[in-house]
């Protein structure tokens, strides 16, 4: 298993697309920090990177990689190794390489220009988002055998979490505007890893003051250790549950 992980990871790290991703991220991050006059603006640029680019690249690349590896997976299955190990190796290989690309691309400028604790939190959240969307991609490839459909699904997943979910939230807010909905809304954000991450990071970026009462609820909830641990637990659940479901199905899947 170790060797599969190692070589899959090396394979992905040498992938042109992943190298381009790393270079792009590094360019954006460096220019955000060096061109903007204060690091807060750079942090916001990175926030957008983490909330949009990272999930899109993670989910799309992982799905394509898995589809392109179908023969390779068959070959591996023909050897005396547990299917779960193969799937885990692919998962870790994808997570490891994409996270490495993220850390090299965004992490170095972050650690150089931004405050240490915040940049560390950003890195952790970025890595978690990478892992979550790899995990969702693996689930998509299991759901659809057809490559076009599967990739379509991953794009839908991305659009849903990056865009539609927030639209639904806004719709609900107006539907239930007459009720005290702040707390239910805080809970609702747990249903989207991107919203959860965004709020977690915004709290650190000192933007909550302008979020008024809602911001105060968030700060009360996420600002303390319990809230932080709950949100990180949620993110970790997001990163493992889709994978575990896909793993369960992969064990029985006809290749």
């Amino acid at each position: 298993m170790g060797r599969i992980f190692k070589y899959v990871m090396l394979d992905i790290l040498k992938n042109k697309f992943v190298i381009a991703y790393m270079v792009m991220m590094s360019l954006v991050a460096w220019s955000a920090f060096t061109l903007e006059d204060n690091s807060a603006k750079g942090m916001l640029t990175l926030l957008n990177l983490i909330l949009l680019t990272v999930p899109l690249v993670s989910v799309l690349f992982s799905a394509i990689y898995i589809y392109n590896s179908s023969e390779f997976i068959e070959l591996l299955v023909s050897h005396p190794i547990k299917r779960s190990k193969i799937w885990l190796s692919l998962y870790w290989g994808l997570c490891g390489s994409l996270a490495t690309a993220f850390i090299i691309g965004a992490g170095i400028p972050l650690l150089l220009f931004a405050e240490f604790t915040i940049s560390l939190l950003m890195l952790v959240v970025g890595i978690l988002i990478t892992v979550i969307f790899v995990s969702l991609a693996l689930l998509s490839t299991i759901i659809y055998r057809d490559k076009a459909k599967g990739i379509g699904l991953t794009i839908l997943i991305w659009i849903y979490f990056a865009l539609l979910f927030d639209g639904i939230l806004l719709f609900l807010m107006f539907q239930f505007a007459d009720y005290p909905i702040e707390k239910p809304m805080v809970l609702m954000t747990a249903l989207s890893p991107l919203d959860l991450s965004r709020i977690l990071l915004l709290l650190q970026l000192d933007s909550t003051a302008i979020m008024g009462y809602t911001g105060a609820i968030f700060r009360n909830f996420f600002g303390n250790t319990v809230g932080m641990s709950i949100s990180f637990t949620l993110l970790i659940l997001w990163s493992t549950i889709p994978f575990l479901v896909s793993l369960k199905k992969f064990k029985k899947k006809d290749l």
């Binding site: 916001l44 957008n48 865009l163 939230l169 807010m173 805080v186 302008i210």
Partner: protein, 410 residues
């Protein structure tokens, strides 16, 4: 000029009939009270270095009290330290500390009762309930004092400079820190507040209630609950002040409530949650101000009318303006908006396309504050972009028809 006149008068008093008393361990008078007892109007009492715990000291004659090497008058947390009940009193160079904390009779470090032309200059007021308290007084000068308190919550601390039912006061060059309100004006007219540095007060840096014809210039208000609150007042002039980092859930740089005919010009607002919150404000001119790095530049409620907002710079604010209504009865003109992306073909430095400073998201948030949950999400930026291209939900007349192409030099 007024100031000069007062000083001249004081000088006249001194030179005419001034006897001099010295208070201190090595001096004829060991206590302040004993010196005050024998002095008469026009005399000068010098207090030398030392700690004086004499309970409540009452000044009932027109005396000049001058501290030498900063003597300390301590109220032991029980007494009002200095009560001035005569006109023409000067207090200079003292450190007044630990006044009583009873909230019923509002004890202050220095309290002026029904007097005129009292001068309080160059004192340190440390850890008092109220710093300097002025009531029913006129023509007083409060200058270059440093007022420091350690308030934790509004109920347990008084104001730095508290003025009530007074007229023609001058509050100049004071440092005020950690009080409830830095300066509080209620029923105070025709007064000037100039060059004070007001920081870290729990409620407001400066608070006007029912006070008219006052002005404040060149003050710095930083990190207060709200920088300045002007309430139920008329004809207040506000110029060249700096409002910084009034940052918090309900924090404002400047709060207007039920005011009219005010003039706000040349001020800088930087890093406030909301730079200005206008509620029921009428006929007020807001011009030549700089709004930068604020959460909101200007929150203008629908009950505001006939205000003119012109020639201001709006730079790097999250929301430049927001409103809770659909109708706008105020005029925006010739402001510089850094988010404006129009063009200027005739090179008159005014954009050829009108600018709508109100973003859709700010309208949404105003009507449904929970929507703040979506702050900085992709969805919201798409929403704003589309509204910019095809305005449909933001008020039709919320528009700057002459947006400037470049920032004003302010």
């Amino acid at each position: 000029m007024k100031w000069f006149f007062i000083v001249l008068l004081l000088f006249k008093g001194l030179s005419a009939s001034g006897k001099v008393f010295h208070v201190g361990a090595q001096h004829p008078y060991k206590t302040i009270k004993s010196a005050l007892a024998v002095s008469n109007g026009g005399d000068t009492v010098y207090i030398h270095k030392g700690l004086y715990k004499e309970g409540n000291i009452i000044v009932q004659k027109a005396i000049t009290i001058i501290g030498i090497d900063r003597p300390i008058l301590d109220g032991d947390k029980k007494y009002e330290v200095l009560s001035i009940k005569s006109s023409y009193v000067t207090i200079k160079g003292l450190r007044v500390q630990h006044s009583g904390y009873a909230s019923l009779d509002d004890p202050g470090g220095i309290k002026v009762y029904e007097a005129t032309k009292v001068t309080i200059i160059d004192n340190e007021l440390f850890d008092n309930f109220f710093g300097i308290y002025i009531q029913f007084s006129t023509n007083c000068l409060i200058k270059n004092n440093s007022i420091i308190a350690f308030g934790k919550e509004e109920q347990t601390i008084g104001n730095g400079v508290h003025c009530w039912k007074s007229d023609s006061l001058q509050i100049i060059g004071n440092n005020i820190n950690g009080c409830r309100d830095g300066v509080y004006f209620e029923f105070v007219n025709n007064s000037v507040i100039w060059r004070n540095i007001v920081t870290d007060n729990i409620r407001y840096g400066l608070h006007f209630m029912n006070s008219n014809n006052d002005s404040y210039f060149t003050n710095i208000f930083s990190r207060n609950g709200a920088g300045v609150a002007v309430m139920f007042s008329k004809k207040i002039t506000m110029m060249n002040n700096t409002f910084n980092e009034n940052w918090g859930d309900a924090a404002y740089g400047l709060l207007f409530k039920e005011i009219s005919d005010c003039h706000l010009s040349g001020n800088h607002f930087n890093k406030n949650t909301a730079a200005i919150f206008m509620d029921g404000s009428n006929r007020t001119i807001v011009e030549n101000n700089v709004f930068s790095n604020n959460g909101w530049g200007l929150k203008i409620q629908a009950n505001c009318m006939d205000n003119i907002i012109q020639k201001n710079n709006f730079i790097k604010n999250t929301f430049d303006v927001s409103t809770n209504g659909t109708l706008l009865l105020n005029i925006f003109s010739q402001n510089y908006w850094d988010k404006y992306s129009g063009y200027d073909l005739n090179k008159d430095k005014i954009g050829d396309v009108p600018y709508r400073p109100l973003s859709l998201y700010s309208v949404i948030v105003e009507s449904n504050p929970t929507a703040m949950i979506l702050f900085r999400s992709f969805f919201v930026s798409l929403l704003d972009q589309s509204e910019k291209k095809i305005p449909s939900l933001t008020p039709e007349n919320f528009i700057d028809n002459k947006p400037l192409m470049s920032a004003l030099r302010l």
